[in-house]
């Protein structure tokens, strides 16, 4: 039983939470630094656009990211604080192009209540101190000394209970903060404090302002010469300083992000919750602020951060849609927008739901996610696997083998491509115009099928046919030597490297030849007790042209054997077990470890670690790649060796961290593959598919491929129905003009085109909470079931919901049945031909009953109470695993005889759940509120206690 589980991240985070611009890598270079959840990316601004320089993981979710420049420094330092209360100051080392940690530490307090509104981290503009607001009622100060080093941190008591924002004021002789807060009567005020570093306390600041806009949420400190602060509210924007107060009304909006345009702080970009970008201008006479002006520029993704780069280029970082690089034009375009999107950076988050489907029916799952929020909502199709970018293709039927050959032994590029058919061999070559055309090598026998070809030493080529081995000069292309198979025997399989040829004839004869300059000498012969199915002598030892070992796959006894070369002594015999013969063996080495790969006729692949000196095999592992016989071939891409397994599900085998990994290739069926590294198509592969030969380059190994389907509304739940080839989603359309006007829909999408083909609108205040495609016992139809909730503004907890049952007919959603529930239907599951719903704190099982009039209805059968909110439910057999709002995981069982659901076990930890899944009969996976995963195991020994797994 597996005791440990591990988590691998398939895709780096894409949600941009913070960004800043400054001279980080050099005093002359301008950098954009982007924080994506747990990673920071450093980009260089070039005339061509953003050029990525470094992508660094941070242990912890980034809470604050600030660039600052201590006195006397020519370039900026980066301050990062994480949500785990760790911070660091990073500096760029130009020599090694690496980051140096200048300072780091822990700023956590043992007690204290973490702030509700997120952590605030700010740096005094004159670099006297770093201010952090991490816990309610406390302001942590990390002072700088004269040399720019950080000193010991201390806390200052902040009496304001609900702090919304804190910023440092510019141009103050003592570091001064301005605090935006809400009092216990829900009124909002700002107040200033000077930080007295010696006394470790606050001193009443120069000014304060009471009773601001009730939606005031954001402070923008304005640099000299104005030195005031902008207070951004939902309906007003206020400029405030010790002696100036200016306010303008704005269209109701919630400003999410701002970016300063000018160094003197007279212009700002504001991004709101609807993705509208505004320009705020401070009008002034000399150094006196006279007023504010605001202008709509256009629409972008909903911004979480805005960084003005240079020359009207702006980076819009988004948590809800793709991040964008935009240009602000002087003149509006046809739609009146000044914003021109130049580049988009894919963002998958926030993923509210996803389903795994096999759209192309290749047996390879793809993930379709409900991504984004608000207007930036989209479906994203994420598929794993390696893409082939086809560059040329020709129609060729019946390819039986392919090999590439070089015209000279030392030539870096391949010239010839030998393609073998059942009764002939054709040779293709690159001509001067870089086109592939048919050519001839006189020394080759082209009227028969070729079994193997290889380049040999002394500018020679080897061709193995069923009757002979031919050694041909690659310069003159003439036959130099031929070795004929003994009469009565034909060669069945053969392999070769630069100096050696190994071939097998009928009757279990194994013949070893050595290649000299114009000579082929039979060095050894061995008689085996049964027929040979496959051979390999790929050199993996120290000598790149000569192998010490030969791998041989056998018929009849179904084994793979290792022989030593040149004396053909049997070293190891490894029975494979089963009844499927090995069809391809390959000796290869990844990251300094030697392996023997052995592919079977049924699409399974065995791998062994091979000890080169002793020939021992160990660490046998078996994976299933496809269902058809596999042919193995090595190729190299980006100077590393990979193995291509050609079959009905072509796979690339590569090694990472000394582990073999398998990645699907996004091609349907490949019969043969050979690397073809020509001058015109460097690092390419020649691939023989059904009736076609194509040449293409290969994608980066292990890359997820993402396709985006913008919806213009937020999809919240998705499921796929194989029978109708459709997706159904619960979606939510927000109208940005009026507050709180939301429309909810159930939409049906075609699973190929992703077009809306049918829509069912939900009632006002009715939200889709869960969706399921299922069928019921005694009914052959497949239905979509949708669980909803009526979310009334005055209700804290929904008390009404519906379960809707739809059938897809002629591409339309038809409502078949409807059942009212007494709460929100948080989850739906198909369960023993019935429907299991989680409704508020209850698990309810419904039967699908045929009424007298031939229609169906849902009838409740039994239920189970005892949850606070049963939010997430998964089922397996008769078992039901429930993830509760705050009471971790419990396991229920449905008892058929009694028709009742009973609790079987539960985890008593107080985990606030955000998802559950069943890994196997005994182990359940849970995700909790603070982004942790944990597993619980069912304690089968009768007791109800559960043991916690790794978390």
């Amino acid at each position: 039983m597996s005791v440990w589980n591990y988590v691998v991240t398939a895709h780096k985070p894409t949600n941009v939470t913070h960004s800043c611009v400054g001279n980080f890598t050099s005093p002359q270079e301008l950098n954009l630094i982007v924080a994506k959840c747990t990673r920071i990316e450093i980009n260089l601004l070039t005339p061509q656009g953003l050029q990525p320089m470094l992508d660094v993981p941070i242990y912890g979710r980034i809470a604050t990211l600030e660039l600052f420049r201590p006195h006397g420094e020519a370039q900026d330092f980066l301050f990062i604080a994480t949500e785990r209360y760790k911070f660091c100051v990073l500096q760029w080392d130009a020599e090694s192009s690496e980051l140096i940690t200048r300072a780091m530490g822990d700023v956590s307090d043992r007690i204290g209540r973490p702030t509700d509104n997120g952590q605030i981290g700010i740096i005094d503009p004159d670099c006297r101190l770093i201010g952090l607001h991490l816990y309610d009622g406390l302001f942590k100060v990390i002072p700088f000394d004269n040399k720019g080093q950080l000193k010991e941190a201390f806390n200052i008591r902040l009496e304001e209970l609900q702090v919304l924002d804190i910023k440092f004021l510019y141009g103050c002789s003592k570091p001064t903060i301005v605090v935006l807060y809400q009092d216990n009567k829900d009124a909002r005020h700002v107040k200033t404090y000077e930080v007295a570093l010696k006394d470790k306390d606050f001193i009443e600041g120069p000014w304060s302002q009471n009773n601001l806009d009730n939606g005031a949420d954001l402070l923008i400190p304005v640099p000299p010469p104005f030195c005031g602060v902008l207070i951004i509210g939902e309906e007003t924007i206020v400029y405030c300083s010790a002696n100036v107060f200016r306010a303008i009304p704005i269209r109701p909006s919630i400003t999410k992000a701002y970016g300063r345009v000018d160094a003197d702080g007279s212009r700002y970009l504001l991004g709101d919750h609807a993705g509208l970008l505004h320009l705020l201008v401070i009008t002034h006479e000399k150094e006196k602020v006279t007023g504010l002006k605001i202008e709509l520029l256009g629409e972008t993704s909903v911004a979480s951060t805005i960084s003005y780069l240079d020359n009207a280029f702006v980076f819009i970082g988004s948590s809800y849609g793709d991040s964008q690089l935009v240009k602000l034009n002087l003149q509006p375009d046809a739609k009146g927008s000044y914003v021109e999107v130049l580049d988009r950076f894919v963002n998958l988050g926030p993923i509210a739901d996803f389903c795994v489907v096999d759209l192309e029916r290749q047996g390879q799952g793809q993930v379709v996610t409900c991504s984004g929020a608000y207007k930036d909502g989209s479906l994203r199709i994420v598929r794993n696997g390696i893409g082939i970018n086809e560059q040329a293709s020709v129609e060729l039927q019946g390819i039986k083998g392919m090999w590439s050959l070089r015209s000279l032994t030392d030539d870096p590029f391949d010239t010839f491509l030998v393609v073998s058919f059942i009764s002939e061999t054709r040779i293709l070559a690159m001509n001067i115009e870089d086109e592939l055309e048919e050519t001839e090598i006189e020394g080759f026998c082209s009227q028969v099928q070729t079994l193997f070809c290889h380049c040999a030493v002394f500018n020679q080529l080897v061709q193995v046919t069923s009757s002979s081995v031919r050694l041909v000069s690659s310069t003159t292309r003439e036959l130099r030597q031929e070795w004929n198979a003994p009469s009565g025997f034909s060669i069945n399989v053969a392999t070769a490297n630069a100096t050696q040829v190994l071939l097998a004839t009928g009757g279990g004869h194994l013949v070893y030849l050595e290649i000299g300059d114009g000579t082929l000498t039979q060095a050894k012969h061995a008689q085996l007790e049964c027929e040979i199915s496959c051979l390999d002598i790929n050199p993996i030892g120290e000598n790149p042209s000569c192998s010490q070992l030969a791998a041989v796959g056998m018929w009849t006894d179904i084994s793979v054997r290792i022989f030593s070369l040149p004396d053909l002594n049997l070293i190891t015999k490894e029975p494979l077990g089963g009844e499927i013969i090995p069809r391809s063996v390959l000796l290869c080495s990844f990251e300094g470890i030697s392996y023997l790969l052995c592919a079977l006729g049924d699409g399974h692949l065995l791998n062994f670690q091979l000890n080169l000196s002793t020939g021992e095999l160990k660490d046998r592992k078996k994976v299933s790649l496809g269902t058809q016989p596999i042919t193995l071939r090595t190729f190299s891409s980006k100077n590393t060796t990979h193995v291509f397994a050609a079959s009905d599900r072509p796979t690339v085998i590569y090694s990472s961290n000394k582990k073999l990994l398998y990645s699907n290739v996004n091609l349907k069926e490949v019969s043969h593959m050979c690397p073809f590294n020509s001058a015109a198509f460097p690092d390419s592969l020649a691939i023989a598919k059904e009736g076609e030969l194509s040449i293409g380059t290969i994608d980066d190994i292990q890359k997820l491929h993402i396709r985006s389907i913008p919806l213009g509304e937020q999809a919240r739940r998705i499921c796929h129905q194989e029978q109708s080839r459709t997706f159904a989603i619960c979606s939510l359309k927000t109208h940005s003009n009026a507050e709180e006007s939301e429309m909810n829909f159930i939409r049906l999408l075609d699973d190929q085109t992703f077009e809306f083909i049918s829509t069912y609108p939900l009632d006002t205040f009715e939200y889709g909470c869960s969706i399921l495609s299922c069928s019921f016992s005694d009914d052959s139809n497949v239905y979509y079931c949708v669980g909803t909730a009526y979310v009334l503004p005055e209700e804290n907890e929904p008390t009404k919901g519906r379960i809707l049952v739809f059938i897809v007919e002629d591409g339309k959603l038809q409502l078949i049945a409807e059942k009212e529930t007494k709460g929100a239907v948080y989850s739906l599951n198909a369960f023993n031909g019935k429907l299991l719903a989680a409704i508020n704190q209850k698990i309810q099982l419904y039967k699908w009953m045929l009424r007298d009039d031939g229609t169906h209805e849902l009838q409740s059968e039994c239920g189970h109470h005892g949850h606070i909110l049963a939010l997430y439910v998964q089922t397996r057999g008769d078992f039901i695993v429930v993830g509760d709002l705050m009471k971790s995981i419990s396991l229920l069982i449905y008892k058929h005889e009694e028709g009742a659901i009973e609790e079987r076990a539960r985890d008593y930890n107080a985990n606030w759940m955000s998802a559950v899944e069943i890994l196997d009969d005994d182990i359940y996976l849970g995700a909790e509120n603070n982004f942790n995963l944990f597993t619980v195991r069912k304690n089968s020994e009768g007791a109800t206690d559960e043991e916690r797994g790794p978390s």
Partner: protein, 452 residues
């Protein structure tokens, strides 16, 4: 709730605020539980309730019949009631220690607390002058301490990593610290002029103990040093003024007014006098704040303090209950003058929040409870329990259910459940309302289930 879950899914709500929002909305739904019932085996008034701090699973109660019991509040012993949905989970005591026990207390147990590190030990204090430490698994007494008088209250520090001290308030004027590690008294703290009704450890420093006496004084002790370092004075009430004043400093007032009158002008000038006053005010950099005591504590005032300060009172009459908020920044006190006061711990000042209490019990210590987010305080007010908003003092909820005086309450922030115990020998469970009864049969839930 749906909205919160939706916002969390979209990444708009942070985990913490999601938790806080859901918890606080549930707290306002608290009512007498219609699905959970603690079956009290006690035949005397319940004086003390505590759920263990490690698992949040075991409720310990101490009662006047010299018995103490442990209940599993997560796992019911059996169920009662007709039909699904109307089931009431009965929580019977797992273990009970009473007079029949060979080492049982002779008189009323006034205080029963869990060992803070795990549930392997618990501590009871009794009017028979003994404090006893029990092994939970074997229900055997492992240690006892003979006190000079009736034990009113015992407390262990929830933070302590370097000591295992039970602080005990007794009839005697001295507060004693009983060391479980050695089985002896570690300290006696002298200062109170009358018996000590209530003791409470700070939630921000493991060395700081707060005690409330029948003399109306609340004293703060740093147990590493002699004497108490702070006595709360109900007449000191200026909070939030910067620079903070310590009552008398006239220099201070001048400087503050200067700073204020200067108002609009940003300059360094007013800083000089303020700096002076700031350093003069060093005393209030007490170790109770967030800054762990690192010798910043000014020794000048110890041990005698100013005699005028030493006589300061927090309440008229006895201090009957103390509770520090979970963030360690505020202290709530209850007095026999029927007042609840909220103190800012760092400055030691009365915040003057007016809690709308009608009357409080005067003769007995009472046990207060706060919510995790420090927004509500639960106070036994005669036969009811009231939940007050800490910052405004307004009554948010009144819990009426006990027939006689309520002595103690405990709030479990893990489940958002309130447990109360009173002279009517009942332990009542108050939980967030379960909205929906059965799917098919929906008669209104009977709220009076507790009375049977």
């Amino acid at each position: 709730m749906w909205r919160e879950i939706r916002d969390r899914e979209a990444g708009k709500t942070r985990p913490n605020s999601f938790k806080n929002r859901v918890s606080s909305s549930r707290i306002f739904d608290l009512q007498l539980s219609n699905y959970k019932d603690v079956v009290s085996p006690h035949r005397g008034s319940i004086n003390s309730l505590q759920v263990d701090l490690t698992e949040g699973r075991y409720l310990l109660s101490g009662a006047s019949d010299a018995s103490a019991s442990v209940f599993d509040i997560q796992h019911a012993t059996d169920f009662e009631g007709g039909g699904e949905g109307a089931l009431i989970a009965k929580h019977k005591s797992l273990i009970t220690i009473d007079k029949q026990h060979q080492n049982g207390h002779k008189f009323a147990i006034s205080s029963a607390i869990w060992y803070t590190i795990d549930t392997g030990l618990f501590v009871t204090g009794s009017y028979d002058h003994y404090i006893k430490v029990w092994d939970t698994n074997s229900t055997q007494m492992v240690m006892n301490f003979k006190m000079p008088g009736k034990v009113y209250r015992t407390a262990m520090s929830p933070l302590a990593t370097s000591h295992m001290l039970i602080a005990a308030g007794t009839e005697d004027v001295q507060v004693r610290l009983c060391d479980i590690a050695s089985g002896a008294f570690a300290h006696t703290l002298s200062g109170h002029r009358d018996g000590v009704m209530t003791v409470e450890w700070s939630t921000s420093s493991e060395w700081v103990l707060v005690t409330g006496g029948c003399d109306g004084a609340i004293r703060f002790w740093d147990i590493r040093r002699a004497g108490c370092f702070l006595v709360l004075d109900q007449s000191q009430s200026q909070l939030g003024r910067r620079p903070p004043l310590l009552a008398r400093s006239a220099v201070n007032k001048v400087s503050t007014s200067k700073a204020l009158s200067k108002g609009q002008n940003i300059s360094v000038k007013p800083r000089l006098p303020q700096k002076k006053s700031g350093s003069g005010n060093g005393i209030k950099h007490s170790p109770i704040g967030q800054i762990p005591a690192k010798g910043s504590l000014k020794q000048r005032l110890h041990p005698g303090m100013l005699s005028s300060q030493d006589r300061a009172t927090a309440h008229y009459g006895a201090v009957t209950g103390l509770k520090t908020t979970e963030d360690g920044m505020y202290l709530l006190s209850a007095g026999s003058d029927s007042r609840i006061r909220l103190w800012d711990v760092k400055s030691g000042r009365n915040t003057l929040v007016n809690f709308e209490t009608a009357r409080l019990q005067t003769s007995k210590p009472i046990q207060l409870a706060t919510t995790q987010d420090s927004n509500l305080v639960f106070v036994p007010c005669m036969t009811s329990v009231k939940a007050f908003d800490i910052w405004s003092g307004r009554t948010r909820v009144t819990f009426r259910g006990h027939y006689e005086y309520v002595n103690c309450c405990w709030f479990s922030s893990q489940d958002q459940e309130l447990y109360t115990g009173g002279n009517d020998r009942q332990i009542l469970v108050w939980s967030p309302a379960r909205l929906i009864s059965n799917e098919d049969s929906s008669p209104a839930e009977d709220q009076d289930n507790w009375s049977d």
